[in-house]
Symmetry: C2
Subunit: 427 residues, 2 copies
């Protein structure tokens, strides 16, 4: 949590944090400023002192609204001194903030920004300020990562609100799909036109926007083979066959780039073939076993190991039993969720998975099985937090049903639309 920042900086031997970039869709900056209309700022946090936000004159009132101390930069002068070189302009800006805040020693860099320009500017600052050295931290152990890994009550509330929005939208998508009709093995609308993945995605975009959420990372709504490749997002023109797995992975955030929530369900429209129903049952079993292993004090990798045990015992390859496999269980169990959709802790069989879970952590739990060549994939995912007593609580409840029932289209309406399409062909 933010309150630990000073201690974490001391432990890491850091004198300051330097955060670059905008105050939107930029987790490190938004963590301190909130979501603001600031296109380019610099936040300097010296150990033991309050953060100071440097901003452009045009953005002075937005900076003040952050509640942080802010300083207006004479950007026109920087620009003139840099003679049209944007790398030089950024390096002069950074040097100015570090000098004014009297920073020396080890400094960690954060913020999402054009990497080439930042790298050039940071190199120049290091050359010009020999008492300053920039420290490359791993995201798994960085000071800011370790502060952000546990959430305070306000952060939990915000993630829960995004979770509520998420399940409202998922419910609406389910209702939209269930309002379709079965026709010749496909899902069609009242007029007989096949329902497409693109329609579902557009519905999701509208419903999220109405509810004050953004969807910067997109939505995975994928059918058949695409559902069998974890990050295949689905094609707008894809139509939905009955009995085929339809995977919806939704991960919106507060509008402007705030807290995320991560959620997946896999459905079959109308009916589920035996092999898909079997996948669903075992993934659901693995999900439940994983959740019961996720308690404060346990290692982050324990639950992943248990899920691998379950899948392997049923004959499914995993990345543990078959490194590099593209079939079976091909990814880790989960990841932290916060201002980034993927952050720490990492629930995986790796050195960073040795870390112990703590109360206040928020993470996605998402076991899955994938068989792209058989046209199927199955993933179930919820976002959990660890309560003060160390036990997991789901951030937003939603049923785990596999089959979404649909009605058969009546023969009379099929004849009607056949007549209509015949008529239009004559024109």
């Amino acid at each position: 949590m933010k309150a630990q920042l000073d201690d974490l900086m001391r432990d890491a031997g850091l004198e300051a944090l330097l955060i670059l970039g905008a105050a939107r869709h930029n987790p490190a900056m938004v963590y301190f400023t909130g979501i603001r209309h600031i296109g380019e700022g610099v936040l300097v946090i010296r150990r033991g002192r309050a953060p100071v936000l440097y901003c452009h004159p045009m953005e002075r009132e937005e900076a003040a609204r952050s509640g942080l101390q802010s300083r207006v930069v004479d950007w026109a002068r920087l620009h003139e001194r840099a003679q049209g070189d944007s790398v030089e302009e950024l390096s002069l800006l950074l040097q100015h903030t570090l000098e004014e805040q009297e920073v020396s020693g080890r400094v960690a860099i954060y913020g999402r920004r054009e990497a080439g320009e930042a790298q050039g500017a940071l190199s120049r600052v290091e050359q010009r300020m020999p008492k300053v050295s920039f420290v490359a931290e791993s995201r798994f152990s960085s000071v800011l990562g370790r502060a952000r890994i546990t959430k305070d009550a306000d952060e939990i509330d915000r993630i829960r609100r995004v979770g509520q929005i998420t399940v409202e939208v998922v419910r609406a998508v389910m209702d939209f799909l269930s309002s379709g009709y079965a026709d010749d093995g496909r899902l069609v609308d009242r007029g007989g036109k096949p329902v497409t993945v693109g329609e579902g995605k557009r519905l999701i975009q509208r419903l999220l926007a109405e509810r004050g959420a953004d969807n910067p990372e997109g939505t995975i709504l994928s059918v058949g083979r695409d559902a069998g490749v974890p990050h295949s997002a689905g094609q707008d023109g894809d139509i939905i066959y009955l009995g085929q797995p339809l995977l919806l992975d939704l991960f919106p955030c507060e509008a402007g780039g705030g807290y995320f929530h991560d959620f997946t369900r896999t459905w079959c429209l109308g009916h589920a073939p035996d092999d898909v129903a079997e996948l669903h049952a075992i993934v659901l079993h693995a999900y439940r076993e994983a959740v019961s292993a996720l308690r404060a004090g346990e290692k982050a990798l324990t639950a992943q190991a248990r899920v691998c045990d379950i899948f392997e015992s049923q004959g499914h390859p995993t990345t543990r039993s078959h490194p590099g496999t593209l079939n079976g269980y091909v990814h880790s169990l989960g990841h932290g969720v916060g201002l980034d959709i993927h952050e720490t802790p990492a629930l995986r069989l790796a050195v960073e998975g040795e870390a112990r879970l703590e109360a206040g952590m928020v993470f996605a739990v998402e076991p899955g099985l994938y068989y792209p060549d058989q046209g199927m994939g199955m993933r179930l995912e919820d976002t959990f937090w660890l309560r003060p007593d160390g036990s997991p609580e789901v951030m937003a409840e939603f049923p785990m049903d596999l089959v979404l029932p649909v009605r058969a289209r009546r023969a009379s309406s099929r004849r009607q639309s056949a007549r209509k399409s015949g008529a239009s062909e004559k024109r």
Copy 2:
């Protein structure tokens, strides 16, 4: 344009471009890949060769859909070798791509990414690969910036489509405001409740989402003093007073982080006071004069100088006559618009403004005058492109009217809602 890339690389003495990060909301990557569900990729472009996209196994089908050559990286092995150090993991990844593509010599870096991690990884790669050196380019003269500065026919079409969406949404906002009523100097709805900036922003979010547009940079919808500070975004709870300038600056992009369009109008609801009407007239005059100065072959700064002449001759301070002023004309005339909302060319009085305009450039033209302490600001903005004949054409037409008429609320409905609120008070 993309077709010039090889020549530009040769002129700059670059052997390769290296683009980092996601294939969403990441202009340099999206320029080549299109908008894809790729969370972390590396694109290597060697001079004279086709680009090669390196991706995670889970994202192999999304990478293939880009139409580029793609290579799947054994990420699990990289991860293991890096022993939980994400900086090391990225440096191993970059080293792998550079070695496999046999890159040596001067390499430019692009892509939006966590700056600290990228800087650490790039430094290690430079140490380990002494034949590779990373070049810090200014955004005003970078190879990719110079390729992107002129748009081909497909890009123009895409920006024009976003422009059409923009003006549809602006029209709907105008209709929404005009459907309100004048009541005691404020804009109210049928029930007598004051209309707020927040309602307008939520309407905008929904309408953009329905039309397939994202709004990653947010919307400026600001009244009074906020309209007098160019980047103040407006407060959700602000109510709208009649006769006060209401500034709407809308800059959406294609969903997922594609091409932008930039647009501003400033309105007065009901009536315009004389001082606001005067500002509108002179800003509109400056806008027209600026547009007539924007032709292929002219310097980018010529139009800005003309606008300064106009404003100064009417007694308004400008950043030319009064450097650092927060009153009058406090910003430059405009900026390129493309996959970034702010890109080259820069229409300003600086060394980069010496560059000549070329056919195929797309830019925003946005003169404005600001008097925050008098509670007013005025900006008019359209996005233009320079046609093959060198003349400017607006990307989306929209009227420049200042006053939006509203009806007075009838006394009868005022009495009615007064009764209602009285009744509810009794409960």
